[in-house]
Point group: C3
Chain length 301, copies 3
């Protein structure tokens, strides 16, 4: 049975297949939907709230002609958690054809998959993986740069909090499947990418220079949060380096794109929204066809 | 694109069209539903809880053959609210075909409509507008008095808290489109209709007299809440004037109707429920065909 | 109009009919679903949370081709409760074709049924009835022992907290319709079955002996909760008598089944889950076809 648990589970061939399916699903999505999954049910178990991720999954299932059952109670007891999760999963797997689960406990999605008689999709488990976000991020890049599938070179720069930003970790893992995509990581030292995600050729620095801005095809921005710093001074020392406004974006190539997993606070100024490089709202929307592709894939359609 | 934001946006022709559509939708509703909106999705974003309004919208969409995604989290951050609402709207508009939004902040529905790529329906925004309630109220009146569309005269009396009762404000605006409908406003002085909603010929008084009761075609009752008064004495002085029981209703004409936006507390005695004038439960039910008509209208169907 | 309010409402013929319908629905469920209830809506009003019961009802309706509107707000005011419940029911009955209601107030489902213009199903009302659980329990027994419908003998043993365990009460009522089913009740004295549910021939004891284990066709286990005892000592004195592990189950006949309404805590060891007698997850799953049968029955299908 196919579960979607980690960005690590995909090889190049599988990624190419999923990108192609997402593209097909995009056409279906743009035209409304299909009845492909008529009579099938997706259970969304969100023990950690996330409106946009949950609604993205639910939209995907509805556009495929399926139906939804949903639980969003965040008071799910943490006591004797392991056992309860196993039992809940077995029961819900008796109702639904596929389960999307979100939990703040690392590994919960994998536990659920071990006890489930139907496919399980990890919709984020704590500081762990967020594979469906990584896949929709990859799909967003592929829509603008389809030649990457034929190994054209591409420069992707991650900016901001690369230490705690799980979407950066998962996406960087996926991009490693494309040898001509070069990765650059720009962050304050204390928010640098963890060792386990780095490779020898990666460029890494603290400064978001004009050189970086002008030579990147993709800039993947994340938020630098004050609470990650030991004191206000060290935060103040770097915070302005990681804000994007119209002037910053003006330095980017015209065909380059600016991505962000959202929600943003002030790291991307509103004035950017209408610039041609802004891609974060399309990115969010791309979650629907990508998740349509994943649900269909898991269900063998 | 058509948004439903305010009772002020409708002219007479549009109201007549919507009443006709609601009537057609009523026939569909009574017979179960239609597949007219197959593959279309309504997002209900209720940042202020309201079971009956939300379920009325959702029922309307389901009876049209569409589907629902829903968010009812009331902890929606109020900090940096404007930005978050704009971003959330843009993202949800990427998922759904139409959005119904409820918020306690006046103007939120309009802000959402400015950032949305799909139609937005205002399901109440704070002390502001509640246009879909006003339309279902109008539809309820039209069902009993269809000759009003041909400018037959009608006497509508509003009773109770006319100062804070938003449904009274919105409905009175709609009724101004029918020159032969005369409006009367009965309330304690401190709960009188705000100046902006009054017109020169309106009758206004503090006493719900037998003369009023016997000559009204429609009585629209609202609740007088103790907390609106400066002290208990002033509340006690008026409260009994604004309670309806069997004896009050007996004074109404047989073909007259008694409306109430619900929920009630004690201002309408249970004994009235079975009397021929009671129309408040039908009124609530009329929300379904009226909202079916509005959703179809916004979606160009 | 047919409402499902109490296990007491069913006679033998009706139970046999419902078991047969559940079996037919099981076939439909296993193959995905049907469009039998296209355009029909189930309202799930859960004023007391219960993920698995609510999702079981919703799955049942979706598998029948119907749709769902749902309210799970547990802050439903208890003040002037009676009136609000009556009004809410009348309004929701104007939207939906059938209502499933759960409340912690005994009798709420019956009150709702009195004010509803559509069928009402009691999804548990406080310490009162839980008729749909009793029916799915009966269906689970019938799947393993279909000859019971032809009055073959069967020995059913209830174990644990028989005083507060409402599922035991409701199921025992249903089993009384089958004269050759003998019931045995094993519990600590202070958790014994209330007088009103007992019959003269019932076996009742405090000890779960090997004799009981080896001669039962069905063991229906429930949890013994510490807080039901006057002091820790009296709890400690009995608690180990009412735990099942692999060794306990090994004493059961091979064709016997072990049931539990779930959730469990530690009264059934995880090692049992894979044994042939374990039936509690199938039992939970059986809620779907049983509730499909009940919804169809109420709607005259």
């Amino acid at each position: 049975m196919i579960h979607i648990l980690s960005a690590k589970q995909f090889d190049r061939a599988e990624l190419e297949y999923l990108m192609k399916r997402a593209q097909e699903m995009d056409t279906i999505f743009q035209s409304g939907g299909t009845d492909m999954l008529h009579h099938q049910i997706l259970a969304t178990l969100f023990y950690e709230p996330s409106t946009r991720t949950r609604l993205s999954f639910e939209t995907a299932m509805l556009r495929l002609g399926g139906q939804i059952i949903s639980e969003t109670d965040v008071t799910f007891s943490s006591q004797s958690k392991g056992e309860i999760l196993a039992d809940t999963t077995r029961i819900i797997a008796g109702y639904a054809d596929i389960i999307a689960i979100r939990s703040k406990n690392v590994g919960d999605a994998r536990i659920a998959s071990e006890f489930s008689s139907v496919p399980v999709i990890n919709a984020w488990d704590g500081s762990g993986e967020h594979p469906t976000q990584a896949l929709l991020d990859l799909y967003t890049i592929m829509k603008d740069f389809p030649e990457v599938l034929n190994d054209a070179p591409l420069r992707v720069t991650f900016v901001g909090d690369l230490r705690y930003g799980r979407t950066v970790h998962s996406l960087s893992l996926l991009l490693r499947n494309f040898p001509n995509i070069s990765l650059r990581f720009i962050s304050p030292d204390i928010l640098a990418l963890p060792e386990e995600y780095r490779m020898q050729n990666d460029f890494q620095d603290e400064a978001l220079t004009d050189e970086i801005l002008t030579t990147s095809d993709v800039i993947y921005m994340t938020r630098v949060q004050k609470e990650r710093f030991p004191d206000v001074e060290s935060y103040n020392a770097v915070k302005d380096r990681f804000l994007f406004d119209g002037k910053t974006v003006a330095k980017m190539q015209e065909k380059a794109i600016l991505m962000h997993p959202l929600p943003r606070v002030n790291e991307i100024a509103l004035e950017i929204d209408t610039l041609p490089q802004a891609r974060y709202f399309e990115q969010a929307k791309n979650g629907v066809p990508m998740r349509m592709a994943l649900i269909a894939y898991c269900l063998g359609k």
